[in-house]
């Protein structure tokens, strides 16, 4: 009941100084609109990059890591000795996953796994005339690859079925095909690092929308790569695993690492650059938004302070006629809250409009990403957060002037 009177008084005060109210409100509005636009855009970028990365890369990848950091024989034998070993060479070993196909079958049987694609991956040169252009050939079972990466939806031309039908077929990345000046039906000569050569026929062109993939990768049938590098049909270098839920990949990866003596890499580790960028953008968004809101808060603080000074006489009368300190605090706090709430609602509306405009603005990212407009994420959570921010800021900004108002000594004012 007391709040109702306080509200009436607050409302009258606000309406009698419309311009001042509007200015105070616009401070909040601007802060929150920018907050909404920034967070929607930044999160949109994050989401887009993450989706692209998740789409185009395996959730978990198992491969054999060839390193030279093996313990030397002498150190194993005499660990306490004074051993000087200089420039140890890696021992000759194959990048092969032993029993790769068996392991693949085993992993695929796990309920949380969507699919496993065993691959033979090798570095090659594509020869265009006399110019060798480096790239990667992935020997795959194209149907498994389809299951993992929805390859058929990413085809720019040609058909994945043609790869199965043609033992010498190759599906090239869009940028690689352009660099090599190849179209579907053309032939290309490849040389492996071990010296093997093969003549492949281009049966399709794909695009994942990620430069590093589209610029280097070609898919061929697994036996063709095994033949090119002169290995047997059990020679597998990579296992690509897709989970039903990408978030399970990290735990599942750890489990696999314990089970098998191979390098296990989950998507988060493989895409650290993207995730780091995401964190930086997140921090930036909050820093800028927070600054904007603090500035708006100070604006409100100033206006409310002025308001209290202008209203000293009124406050004295209210107190003289029996309103207590809490009533006076309520009157001014309600004013800030109204300013904050209306400002926030307006800010959210403007923020939404700007975000929408941004989301339909054409954006040419070149070959780096497959994207036509700015990525913007629309999430109700951000809007609620914006309103909450606005109200909290204004309540804080209004609290101190209100406290000051409550402390005004009516006698000093009324006696003049």
């Amino acid at each position: 009941m007391d709040l109702k009177i306080a509200y009436t008084i607050a409302q009258t005060h606000l309406l009698s100084k419309k311009k001042q109210t509007l200015v105070a409100m616009l401070g909040v509005t601007f802060g929150i609109a920018m907050f909404i636009v920034m967070i929607s855009f930044m999160q949109g970028v994050n989401q887009f990059l993450e989706d692209s990365a998740l789409d185009a890369s395996p959730h978990v990848r198992i491969y054999k890591q060839l390193t030279s950091d093996r313990p030397s024989l002498i150190e194993t034998l005499r660990p306490d000795g004074f051993n000087v070993i200089h420039h140890q060479k890696p021992k000759q070993e194959l990048a092969k996953i032993k029993n790769g196909l068996v392991i693949a079958r085993h992993i695929e049987a796990q309920p949380q796994v969507l699919g496993v694609s065993p691959q033979v991956s090798t570095q090659v040169f594509f020869n265009v005339g006399s110019v060798p252009i480096p790239g990667t050939l992935a020997g795959v079972d194209v149907l498994r690859e389809e299951k993992l990466y929805r390859l058929s939806q990413r085809m720019k031309s040609g058909n994945i079925e043609d790869l199965r039908a043609n033992a010498n077929g190759v599906i090239l990345g869009r940028l690689l095909a352009r660099k090599l000046n190849l179209k579907v039906g053309d032939k290309v000569n490849v040389t492996s690092s071990t010296g093997g050569t093969a003549l492949l026929r281009v049966v399709g062109v794909f695009s994942f929308g990620i430069q590093t993939v589209d610029d280097a990768r070609g898919y061929v049938n697994m036996p063709k790569v095994q033949e090119l590098i002169q290995k047997d049909a059990n020679y597998i270098t990579d296992l690509h695993i897709k989970m039903k839920d990408p978030l399970q990949a990290i735990d599942f990866g750890k489990q696999l690492a314990r089970q098998y003596d191979y390098k296990v890499e989950d998507w988060a580790a493989a895409n650290q650059a993207i995730l780091a960028g995401e964190q930086i953008r997140g921090v930036m968004t909050f820093v800028v938004s927070f600054t904007l809101l603090v500035v708006a808060g100070f604006g409100i603080y100033n206006i409310m302070n002025m308001n209290v000074i202008n209203k000293m006489k009124d406050i004295a009368i209210l107190k003289a006629t029996g309103f207590n300190g809490r009533d006076v605090v309520a009157v001014f706090l309600i004013q800030s809250m109204i300013i904050g709430l209306l400002g926030a609602i307006l800010g959210v509306t403007i923020g939404f409009s700007l975000s929408y405009l941004l989301s339909v603005t054409p954006f040419d990212s070149g070959d780096f990403l497959a994207i036509d407009t700015f990525p913007v994420k629309f999430d109700v959570g951000y809007y609620l957060l914006g309103v909450a921010f606005g109200v909290i800021t204004t309540v804080l900004a209004g609290y101190f002037p209100s406290k000051k108002a409550a402390k005004i000594d009516p006698v000093a004012v009324l006696r003049g």
């Binding site: 009124d314 003289a320 006629t321 029996g322 207590n324 300190g325 006696r415």
Partner: protein
């Protein structure tokens, strides 16, 4: 009404001040009020007079409960007010005291009616409709009912002062206090304010305490307390009522 005074029987005391002392400490310690002791009876129209700086306004603000920085005790309506919290005193003011100031302090953004209604809405004793009705009654008493919906800033000084009186009366306070209520008014308006005070004291048994410089105004009341240099020099004898 029951509050009508009879000459034989003394009416009950509604306000008593006992040994009130007050000091100003800025710039130097200075005693403004010295051992003020007096009583006011129900329905009494009391004026406090004295030269500027004699402490009469200071005394009034202590009586108003807004100034709590004093020594001695104040009792009103049989309740000891000295030492109570600000919030309790605010509630007490709301219910038992009405104020009329020299500069007709109305809230400028509010209408005349709202100004009068606010203290009653705060009291919360009556529903809003009833409060509005009562506010109209009080405005009628000061002959301002036709201006009820005007913005209070649009009124003349005399009109504002009459609205301020209506506001002071809205909760039917035991005591109405005035700090130079006619100090800023012309003869005609002063007379009107005086008549209203006189009427409510007689009709409703409400006590009036005013600080005034106006000798005619003071002379028309029941009793005059005269102050000089922070002390009461004359308690005045009670004029025979009527």
């Amino acid at each position: 009404m029951s509050a009508k005074m009879s000459p034989e029987k003394k009416s009950p005391v509604v306000l008593s001040a006992t040994n009130v002392n007050k000091y100003f400490t800025d710039p130097v310690r200075f005693q403004v009020l010295k051992e003020i002791t007096f009583e006011v009876q129900r329905g009494e129209f009391l004026s406090i007079v004295g030269k500027s700086g004699c402490g009469k306004s200071t005394l009034l603000y202590i009586l108003s409960t807004m100034d709590t920085d004093y020594e001695g005790t104040i009792e009103m309506n049989g309740q000891r007010l000295t030492g109570l919290s600000q919030d309790t005193l605010a509630a007490f003011r709301n219910e038992h005291l009405g104020f009329v100031f020299q500069f007709h302090f109305l809230l400028p953004e509010f209408s005349v009616l709202q100004n009068v209604m606010l203290p009653a809405l705060k009291l919360g004793k009556y529903p809003r409709k009833e409060v509005e009705h009562r506010a109209y009654e009080k405005l009628k008493l000061v002959d301002m009912q036709e201006h009820a919906l005007k913005a209070s800033a649009k009124l003349s000084g005399g009109q504002q002062q009459r609205v301020a009186i209506a506001r002071a009366l809205i909760n039917d306070p035991t005591i109405v206090m005035g700090d130079e209520p006619t100090g800023n008014l012309d003869k005609k308006n002063s007379q009107m304010v005086f008549d209203i005070f006189k009427e409510i004291a007689r009709e409703n048994g409400q006590t009036i305490i005013t600080v005034t410089h106006d000798p005619d105004f003071a002379a028309g009341g029941d009793r005059i307390i005269e102050m000089s240099d922070g002390a009461i020099i004359s308690h005045g004898h009670e004029n025979s009522v009527q």
